[in-house]
């Protein structure tokens, strides 16, 4: 078989770099999801819609003549409060219930957000131009848009910042304590209600950052949220819960895997192959788990 990617060696490098840059951005969204899933045991279907809302904040800044890159600072601040408000209105009522109810609730929020954004911002596909230019390597045979490099850089900064914040700050420690054992944390004087609200807010803020970056690198549209939810969900599943470095690795890994699937299997199998990989990983996990159980018997 003569695959183009093996005939033109530079394409391999291009694919790896494209995949990494894409993966880092997705990993940031997955970071937020992993965090609140771990702490609150809630799978947030509205994750992608929060991302898009964050994107619209950057887009409107761009429309009013402010450089959209400032969106990575403004958008998370606004989105933090949006997250806290959503928590106070809806999530706090489902946080101790089973997973199914939280999925239903966040699914509802997702639909509401989609329709509201469509109503408020219109159904046009929009984007913000950063005007960042392009980095060309190896005599123009590998090209990397600077906007994507910028996105990846910002994502890494926020991800590392979050990890440090979790380790060092008081709130971070409270969040980790609540994640380990909410009841024990409560008994020891942690205000879990506040911790939950902050966690949801931080998640929304991360979505805000990612959204601003997506408006610079890709396009935004009120109904485009779901793919981001699904992608971050997959990244978290592959990494395993409570494994933040794993989220970063699996995000980038999936990004690169997807690029190669595109070249080797064809663009139409790109998303399908990622799902196939997910199934294989789940089957493998189950297999491993069942062996462990037998051993315990």
């Amino acid at each position: 078989m003569d695959f183009l990617i093996f005939q033109v060696p530079m394409l391999t490098l291009q694919a790896v770099l494209d995949g990494l840059l894409l993966g880092v951005l997705f990993a940031l969204i997955a970071y937020g999801m992993a965090l609140q899933w771990g702490v609150m045991n809630i799978i947030n279907i509205a994750q992608g819609d929060l991302v898009i809302l964050g994107g619209y904040i950057a887009y409107f800044m761009y429309l009013y003549g402010i450089h959209p890159a400032w969106g990575v600072i403004i958008s998370p601040i606004i989105m933090y409060f949006v997250g806290v408000i959503i928590y106070k209105l809806v999530i706090n009522k489902v946080v101790d219930r089973d997973l199914f109810i939280s999925i239903l609730a966040t699914f509802g929020i997702s639909i509401l957000f989609m329709q509201l954004m469509n109503f408020a911002f219109g159904a046009d596909v929009v984007l913000a131009n950063s005007g960042y230019g392009t980095t060309m390597l190896f005599d123009n045979s590998v090209t990397l848009p600077n906007s994507k490099i910028f996105s990846a850089f910002i994502s890494i900064v926020f991800a590392i910042g979050l990890v440090i914040y979790m380790k060092k700050s008081k709130l971070g420690r409270a969040i980790r304590a609540t994640a380990q054992n909410a009841r024990a944390a409560k008994i020891l004087g942690v205000d879990t209600e506040k911790v939950y609200a902050a966690t949801f807010g931080i998640n929304a803020a991360l979505c805000g950052v990612a959204g601003a970056l997506i408006s610079i690198t890709f396009t935004i549209h009120p109904y485009m949220g779901l793919p981001y939810t699904i992608r971050s969900f997959m990244i978290v599943i592959v990494a395993g819960l409570g494994n933040l470095p794993g989220v970063a690795m699996s995000g980038m890994g999936l990004g690169v895997f997807e690029e190669f699937a595109d070249y080797i299997l064809g663009t139409e199998f790109r998303i399908g192959s990622v799902f196939l990989l997910l199934v294989l990983i789940l089957v493998y996990r189950r297999f491993k788990l069942s062996r462990k159980r037998e051993y315990l018997k």
């Binding site: 183009l4 494209d18 596909v125 848009p145 549209h221 009120p222 690029e259 663009t267 139409e268 998303i271």
Partner: protein, 412 residues
């Protein structure tokens, strides 16, 4: 218990009231011919849904102001009942059912998009309600043997046909090497089939044939392949998202192709969102205001565009123009049928052969308009960065000369 009874009585009273009042709204009331339309006023197609509605409304007002429709020696006026289908095919089918069986509508106008037209067509067909639609171009609409469906627009497989033919012509009649990327939806795949036909006809070779997943936001892989194999023509179709993504990433990745042809540039407001980066892109369009077709109601494209802008405050996209044309077709058919009998109106529609400001209209067996070619315009920008769409093909309608090949990024 008492309260429950009261509620039941109340609800049923309202229901009876509704059913009687609604049924009395039949197809022709007094001097009004009532048409029905389910249009996406909310949901993901809402922008184009509104363009469609504006096109319909403008034509209704114009026809009514200019004397209305003469049937059997009496003058009638158009009126439209609109429902919002929420961009949802299921809802559209329900609303069509409701328009016909409850509101008594006997003539329908089409919704926006191929998907929604596909949902409505079986319903109108079942009841024998003639429908003139202006926004469903998918080829599969015209191969099902529908007898009551008429489309004023050219079918999707002809959208980019002209581009391939132009490329071959510029190549001295020899076949060209084509790279194509199409989204996996009914419309874009129809456009793809058209390209496959054109390639076979002209002896061209397709060297990249990517099918983009709907949820895909990134075309980097496809474009990297294009850079590696250097085709003569790059064809992209994936609605507004596809057009915007392609232009952004072609500029960012500095992809040099001699010809870039795509769909939905109008709807994507390509030159407004991307400025000079969109320069030289060739776009398929059903209509452009500089075309010189004429009729008695809107005169010509330029006049239509000016009148439209006065009313709605923006330049009409082709979605509005074709929607207006649908009403001209209905008026013409009613007058020729000289009757409101659905069968007779249907036959008159099938015999349509007219020119409108939007183009010539003549329906084939399947209901598609075969007398109106697609046009290609090219985005052309001046030094100040102001961009304009100029028709470049077919030559008969061209208002500017095609710039070919596209200058390399390093020379721009």
């Amino acid at each position: 218990m008492k309260i429950k009874n009261i509620i039941i009585t109340f609800v049923s009273a309202i229901a009876i009231l509704f059913s009687t009042s609604v049924v009395s709204l039949a197809k022709v009331v007094g001097d009004k011919i009532i048409l029905g339309a389910a249009i996406s006023l909310t949901g993901k197609y809402s922008s184009n849904g509104v363009h469609t509605q504006n096109g319909y409304n403008m034509a209704v007002d114009r026809i009514n102001d200019m004397g209305g429709i003469k049937v059997g020696g009496k003058t009638y006026k158009f009126d439209i009942i609109y429902y919002d289908d929420e961009s949802n095919p299921k809802r559209a089918a329900q609303l069509a059912e409701r328009l016909i069986s409850q509101d008594g509508v006997e003539f329908m106008l089409g919704p926006y998009s191929s998907g929604l037209t596909k949902a409505i067509a079986p319903v109108t067909e079942k009841y024998g309600v003639p429908m003139v639609e202006a926004n469903g171009a998918s080829r599969s609409l015209f191969t099902k043997g529908y007898k009551y469906l008429f489309a004023v627009l050219a079918p999707a497989n002809l959208y980019l046909d002209v581009a391939i033919e132009t490329a071959v012509e510029l190549n001295g009649g020899k076949g060209v090497r084509i790279a194509q990327a199409f989204e996996q939806d009914a419309f874009s795949q129809d456009v793809r089939l058209g390209i496959l036909d054109a390639a076979e006809r002209t002896g061209s070779k397709i060297i990249i044939d990517d099918k983009l997943p709907k949820e895909l936001n990134d075309m980097a892989a496809t474009l990297a392949k294009v850079k590696a194999v250097k085709p003569d023509v790059l064809v992209v179709s994936g609605h507004t998202k596809g057009a915007l993504t392609a232009i952004r990433q072609i500029a960012e990745m500095k992809v040099d192709v001699p010809m870039l042809a795509m769909t939905h540039c109008d709807a994507a407001k390509l030159s407004k969102q991307h400025g000079k980066n969109s320069q030289y892109a060739l776009c398929a369009s059903q209509w452009h205001k500089t075309l010189t077709y004429k009729d008695d109601f809107f005169k010509d494209g330029m006049t239509y565009a000016a009148d439209f802008e006065k009313l709605f405050g923006y330049d009409p996209p082709y979605q509005s123009a074709e929607s207006s044309a649908a009403l001209l077709v209905f008026k013409d058919a009613f007058e020729r049928a000289n009757s409101f009998d659905q069968k007779k109106v249907r036959d008159a529609l099938a015999d349509t052969n007219m020119q409108t400001f939007y183009g010539n209209i003549k329906f084939a067996e399947g209901g598609q308009n075969v007398d109106k070619p697609m046009v290609l315009f090219q985005v052309m920008c001046d030094d100040a960065g102001k961009c304009e769409n100029k028709v470049v093909a077919p030559l008969k309608w061209a208002s500017a000369e095609l710039i070919h090949p596209i200058p390399k990024w390093s020379e721009r």
